[in-house]
Assembly symmetry: C2
Homo-oligomer: 343 residues x 2
């Protein structure tokens, strides 16, 4: 028999001599059904071997039990950790995670186009990319709650580090070691040119130099995407062209620092003897490469995002003390040292 | 109004004067409905402003449009790549990916317990972990197709590399360089002690040595989980205890090799002068660390797994030529060299 599950509710209603609506309410324990009617419906359901499927129940209760996780780059450490943290919290609350990968503008548009007219998720978690006003309106129209992870937002509940503070920790560390010629390998994603993470980490560089009375030298700054080889080429370019070469490099992410470390080694520069290198993240490889970095816990941020979802959906009491500004800390390893030790 | 969508199909049927089943078939363009009846039902649907929601349509067609992706460790490179490849193919086919992380035995049991009595997915993709006979029966009972990714299976459609061949490529490379004392840092997951990947990569080591008339020396073999620091401790232990130390190390995965490279550097061993190191995977960091390895394309395997799902669900014609044995190739970098060059 291919008659689908939802149809047999009509059989139950018919058998019990009630309306479809009453049968549905009785089976969902909704209000406004007398005890006698409910018993009669339940008896009919039993007699007809009728089981409410999860999908049918969700149609009836108006929720889906599903949360969409929208992630730009699944294969990167940061996104993998965030996703792992979110999945664990939501699955423990018996919610399902629908995964959408939107690694560029085209896929972001496809994702939004695929959003059905009738909602199929209760909430959307946006991981480290900005929603336009239009995106946001569209999500709100289908009744989906929005939570941002991996970057803080004023527009909806969010969790992330203070990118400016992270950048300052890295820069102040280099300055405290006496460095005055500091290069910056900055992140810039062409798909999100004004992304707050990149902007705040760059602002930290400029402010730290300015506060120390040091000049901003555009010769020492390059913008790249999150590709180690591009960071390697950028630092090579700086070393080959700067009138006075840097003694330290501030990179926006450990993965950029890895590329920098490699090219420095290949070119025979000693780290930190000739040049210090600092990153942000504490990627698992940072320890293996002895990289000084500003650490963040991406998995914990994912878990917090998961709890924000539960609170938005009313599945957990709102906790005003939930730490949505994720902590960062300087992790000193051997890739940074005092300026001029080998001068 | 909280009356759910599925209910109004009864109104449409009533309005058109047909049975619920006929109304459903007409709206789903199923066979066995005359053109006149279909037109009458469609007209009633229009008159009543009735729209089939995706969930309701799926209840009616008996499919969910969803595929479960069951992954042990989202945060690891290999799983992130596989997941990215699968998601891209399935989302292009307008299927949704439900993500389940099952990083140990407990979570695997929880996942299986959460599987509803009535199916909520059309297929399950199992990434690099074994299903028990019981698991398999349970999935088949709910009508879900099974596809395995990241490891080949005789029991259901699967894609993965030939782990034995990969191990042989690595070992034959070391043997061709004249190494005769070769250590093995082998993978072993306590949750899946007889996992084919680990078993086949270890068998390749033993066969390669035996075929070259070399002894199997248990002093040179250690089993670890996929943790770089554990691999580092293992090689340290071998170097500290072996009567005759190895001149080369075969590791089951690049992430193990990274730990080995670090400890060798810290202890002052030259690579490859004193000791050669080879991995398997071609992890993005392998190039940055100049690691010789046996490369595989995890993202392409994910894409192939996605296509296997489409074929299993009848959404794409079965392609007997689809390469389900993913290729591997030796990638020579500077972590391996001739034995005895510095002796």
């Amino acid at each position: 028999m291919s008659i689908p599950t939802a149809m047999s509710l009509a059989d139950v209603a018919c058998h019990a001599g009630v309306s479809l609506s009453t049968a549905s309410r009785a089976l969902n324990n909704a209000y406004g059904v007398s005890a006698g009617t409910r018993d009669r419906v339940l008896e009919s359901a039993r007699a007809l071997d009728f089981v409410v499927s999860p999908d049918a129940r969700r149609l009836a209760t108006g929720t889906t039990g599903r949360v969409a996780l929208v992630v730009p780059h699944l294969e990167r450490w940061f996104f993998g950790q965030i996703t792992a943290g979110i999945e664990r919290v939501l699955s423990q609350a018996d919610l399902d995670v629908l995964l959408y990968q939107v690694d560029d503008e085209q896929h972001r548009r496809e994702f939004l186009a695929r959003l059905p007219a009738r909602r199929k998720v209760d909430a959307v978690v946006v991981v480290a990319f900005p929603l336009t006003e239009e995106d946001r309106t569209r999500l709100e129209k289908i009744g989906a709650k929005i939570v941002a992870a991996g970057a803080r937002s004023d527009a909806y509940p969010s969790v992330g580090i203070d990118d400016y503070a992270a950048g300052r920790l890295a820069m102040d560390h280099l300055l405290s070691l006496g460095h005055t010629r500091i290069a910056m390998i900055a992140l810039r994603n062409p798909d999100q040119p004004d992304w707050s993470t990149d902007r705040d980490r760059a602002q930290a560089y400029r402010d730290a130099l300015t506060e120390h009375g040091l000049p901003l030298d555009p010769e020492l700054v390059r913008e790249v995407e999150l590709v180690p080889a591009d960071a390697a080429r950028a630092i090579e370019d700086i070393l080959d062209t700067a009138a006075e070469p840097p003694t330290a490099v501030y990179t926006h992410a450990d993965e950029l620092a890895f590329g920098v470390l490699r090219i420095l080694r290949n070119r025979g520069h000693r780290v930190p003897g000739d040049i210090s290198v600092v990153g942000i993240d504490d990627h698992p490889m940072a320890e293996l490469l002895d990289l000084t970095t500003v650490g963040q816990d991406a998995r914990a941020q994912g878990a917090t995002a998961g709890r924000l979802v539960l609170q938005e959906l009313g599945l957990e009491p709102v906790d005003p003390g939930l730490a949505t500004k994720a902590p960062v800390r300087l992790i000193r390893r051997s890739s940074t040292g005092r300026a001029g030790t080998t001068a």
